[in-house]
Symmetry: C2
Subunit: 111 residues, 2 copies
DNA sequence: CGGATACTTAGCCTTGTGGCTCACTATTCG
DNA sequence: CGAATAGTGAGCCACAAGGCTAAGTATCCG
């Protein structure tokens, strides 16, 4: 537990950008083409494509080109990495709480 | 739901760095001084302090100086922002699943 | 008081990130 | 075929991120 995870790192870096988070959110409602995804954003396509690449290389999305259209789909499993890390943190806290409780109990036992 | 949250943004940016994640993890076991937190890392103190500042301005940790020692504590509530966002995402997916199921049901009803 | 400790401040440097334009390729459609 | 569509690729740019050193400040301890 705890040691450095490149996969988690990539996912968090990807999610640290608002544009990319919105894309993830949109893809939660189903697959979409790059152009479709880009439409809401006030940036040029090549700029937007960089975000798509970041998301893809983090594993959060998968993309496939058919004809001239590249379709993107969300990989929900990847988001679980974040869940898992958060769960680990809670584990650390509760371990500490357990120790504190034990300490209090011990102190009560030896007045 | 969904619109841009600077707070969530700051938290995810903070967590996107492995050093800072390890600090969060360490602080889960209880408060610590800056020097104590920095010890495991192969970087100079001023560099490390930047990470502390990022964590603090994201709200993930609080710090207070007493004498010449600055003590850092984790603010668990802040991590909940990430939890909430993940929960939102799952909500989006399940809404979609519901719609798909309803569609299938409707189709079955009208053969 | 004076030295050791624990940060802090200031400033520099390199790399990475996110955005742009312009030019190009590959499909699709009339 | 030829025009419109949907990405791509290349290369530039500004600024933020993360690291460093050197020097300064503010306790604390003997």
């Amino acid at each position: 537990m705890a040691h450095y995870s490149p996969a988690l790192d990539a996912v968090l870096v990807a999610l640290a950008d608002p544009t990319r988070r919105q894309v993830v959110q949109r893809l939660g409602r189903g697959p979409a083409s790059v152009g479709e995804l880009a439409r809401p954003f006030p940036m040029a396509l090549p700029s937007f494509m960089k975000h798509v690449r970041v998301l893809e290389s983090s594993g959060l999305i998968r993309t496939a080109k058919s004809g001239r259209v590249r379709t993107c789909t969300l990989d929900r499993e990847r988001l679980a990495l974040v869940d898992d890390w958060l769960a680990d943190q809670r584990q650390v806290w509760s371990d500490r709480t357990d120790r504190l409780e034990r300490l209090v109990t011990d102190l009560e036992g030896t007045p």
